[in-house]
């Protein structure tokens, strides 16, 4: 895995911790492929809404409101990173 990829994953973890106020969790505690919602990290749908806003703001991207299943990108840090990368390239 290339370094920029690792950096992006790490940044997204920090964004999750910061946007959702997860004080006692550090970036190392979140796995790249770990499920963020429900079981796993235990986030809920309000967190998903918050995270959607935070990701769009931080990376200057827009979640395409007309595409289907956009929320699938929010499964894990790795899928979020892939989404951000694809959006920034577009």
């Amino acid at each position: 895995m290339s370094d920029p990829q690792n950096t992006l994953n790490h940044d997204i973890k920090l964004l999750i911790i910061d946007a959702l106020g997860l004080e006692d969790i550090s970036a190392q505690d979140i796995g790249d492929e770990q499920t963020l919602f429900g079981e796993g990290l235990g986030l809920d749908s309000v967190d998903a809404l918050e995270l959607g806003l935070a990701i769009q703001k931080k990376y200057g991207i827009k979640i395409d409101a007309d595409a289907k299943d956009t929320r699938n990108h929010f499964t894990s840090v790795a899928s979020l990173a892939a989404f951000v990368t694809a959006k920034q390239a577009a």
Binding site: L22, D29, V46, A48, E50, A65, R71
Partner: protein, 559 residues
């Protein structure tokens, strides 16, 4: 569109009338299916069932079918194991989407005949979530529900016209049930089957219909971003918001984007709707709702949406205007709402205190991007031991796990502050402002100075090492100890008062670390300054046992 009264919904309409889509369902098929379900329930001889269905149209079929068969319906808030356990003795059949339960289709038998429903004998029970104590069952008659949908139609039916009803809230609760299912059914408005919690989904569904209205929650409405196509959404006939408070800023943002104010509904599972407002700070009571106040100024409600003769006493402090409208002033108890979920702080505090690690606890709400709970804890000896030997993460995770048996994940504290004692004031009270300040403060980096005295040129200090020190996090994750460099920093900072002139750090001599300093330790610190040599002597001990000592060389600044 012709209004069909709730009790007559099992009679197919004369004209074709769409109930829902994907798959399409019209009113005649809805009646047919409900009567088939009624037959299935009757055949099984059940009298009380629990229903939890994602699909609002299926829910409509289940409700009408059960009522036709004289079966009472309970709508549990969720399907978690504790919830099932709680209602085990009260229901004979679970109708849900989960594999272990009965499906709607499994109940289909040759249909019963259509009939009017009995407004007083048909019963529905709603549940408040477990976070406000024991999950509470609220029994309603069909008449109460019928009264309410009738009133809603009179207020807003004309504006809504043939709008398709799109909802972001669950139909297990009173608001979603009335606004997404029962009201549209009676009015002949189609509705979207699924709950759509995300703004993008709401937009897509909206675009599929020439006319639409939203049944939404503050959680969604305050988080709708610029990525949406607002011009395309602005034809929305009405935006309903209920379940919790919609911040004025969110209402304003919606007004700016949609050129209409959201319609906010104030109500509860117990009372149904109480009042509404649109772009106004004052609440307008629903037409047949009679309001008054008790001696504490809390709202009392009499309403046709309550059982006859029942007066509901709320804990909402209010102030009435001359015209009968009112302003909400806040709760008189410590029940808070987090993203529309009702949470009893005393109940969760009690649950925390029951844990062996906790001596005392207080909770408060932290309003950041999203509202969450913060906990102020005084650890017991066992708790301190756990912190010292397993680390902070294990401690807070353990407590969250413990609490998760008592509340939804959303109510689990995200911020923890470990205190030596709670900040009771002279009157023995804990001022909420003080709790709030402690929750918002960053974790401490300095020692707590309990006392200090100067004896023969020596400064003797009694210190407490907070269990909450920020330094304990990475040092070390599973066994927090006070870093040596921090001990030196503290000695230097506390020794400033002994110095003869401004000086700066120039080095260390005979530094010794003899015993680890751990969270919660009481420390004695002795400081002596030798002006001639420019050295600050420090020695830390814990109950007479030396922990560390050394000399800090300090050079005068500017010489």
């Amino acid at each position: 569109m012709k209004w069909i009264a709730l009790e007559q919904l099992l009679h197919p309409a004369d004209a074709p009338r769409t109930v829902s889509f994907a798959p399409a369902l019209d009113h005649a098929s809805l009646c047919q299916q409900a009567l088939q379900v009624a037959a299935g329930l009757q055949l099984r001889g059940v009298k009380r069932i629990a229903v939890h269905l994602e699909d609002a149209a299926q829910l409509a079929v289940a409700l009408l079918g059960a009522w036709r068969a004289g079966v009472q319906v309970l709508l549990p808030a969720d399907l978690q194991a504790q919830t099932r356990q709680r209602w085990l003795g009260e229901v004979e059949l679970w109708l849900s989407d989960q594999p272990q339960d009965t499906t709607l289709e499994a109940l289909f038998e040759a249909p019963l005949a259509a009939a009017d429903l009995n407004l007083d004998q048909c019963r529905l029970s709603l549940c408040t979530s477990g976070s406000s104590g024991e999950p509470k069952r609220i029994d309603k008659s069909l008449r109460q529900l019928a009264n309410e949908v009738q009133a809603l139609e009179q207020l807003w039916g004309k504006d809504l016209g043939a709008a398709c009803i799109i909802g972001s809230v669950a139909t297990q609760h009173i608001y979603g049930l009335l606004f997404r299912v029962l009201w549209p059914l009676c009015a002949g408005r189609p509705f979207v089957r699924r709950q759509l919690p995300f703004p993008e989904d709401l937009q897509r569904a909206s675009r599929e219909h020439p006319a639409f209205a939203w049944v939404a929650s503050p959680a969604l409405l305050k988080r709708m971003g610029d990525n949406l196509d607002w011009p395309a959404l602005s034809p929305v006939r009405r935006v309903f918001s209920s379940g919790g408070e919609l911040p004025a800023s969110a209402a304003q943002a919606l007004h700016q984007r949609l050129q209409q104010w959201p319609t906010e509904i104030l109500g509860s599972s117990e009372t149904g709707g109480i009042a509404w407002r649109q772009g106004d700070s004052l609440w307008q009571p629903f037409a047949e709702v009679r309001l008054s106040q008790n001696q504490d100024g809390a709202l009392r409600i009499e309403s046709p949406y309550l059982p006859p003769g029942h007066i509901e006493q709320s804990a909402d402090a209010v102030e009435f205007a001359a015209d009968g409208r009112f302003r909400l002033l806040g709760r008189l108890d410590r029940i808070v709402k987090l993203e529309e979920k009702r949470i009893s702080l005393p109940m969760l505090e009690q649950a925390l205190i029951e844990h062996a690690w906790v001596e005392d606890a207080r909770l408060g709400v932290i309003q950041e991007n999203r509202a969450s709970l913060g906990a102020l804890l005084v650890l017991s000896a066992v708790g301190l031991y756990a912190l010292r030997n397993q680390g902070r993460r294990a401690l807070t995770e353990g407590l969250r796990q413990h609490l998760s048996q008592h509340c939804e994940a959303l109510a689990l504290p995200r911020r923890w502050r470990l205190l030596r004692q709670l900040p009771f004031n002279a009157q023995g009270k804990l001022p909420q402002a003080e709790l709030q300040a402690l929750l918002l403060a960053p974790r401490p980096k300095g020692p707590e100075v309990l006392s200090q005295a100067e004896v023969d040129g020596e400064l003797q200090l009694q210190l407490a090492v907070s269990a909450d020190l920020a330094y304990f996090n990475g040092h070390f994750p599973q066994t927090p100890v006070l870093p040596g460099v921090v001990q030196v920093d503290w000695a230097l900072a506390l020794g400033q008062q002994l110095l003869d002139r401004p000086r700066q750090f120039a080095g260390m001599e005979v530094l010794k670390f003899q015993q680890l300093v751990r969270p919660g330790d009481p420390l004695q610190l002795t400081l002596r300054f030798d002006a001639e040599r420019g050295k600050l002597y420090f020695a830390y001990s814990n109950a007479g046992v030396p922990c560390s000592s050394g000399r800090i060389v300090l050079e005068a600044i500017g010489e």
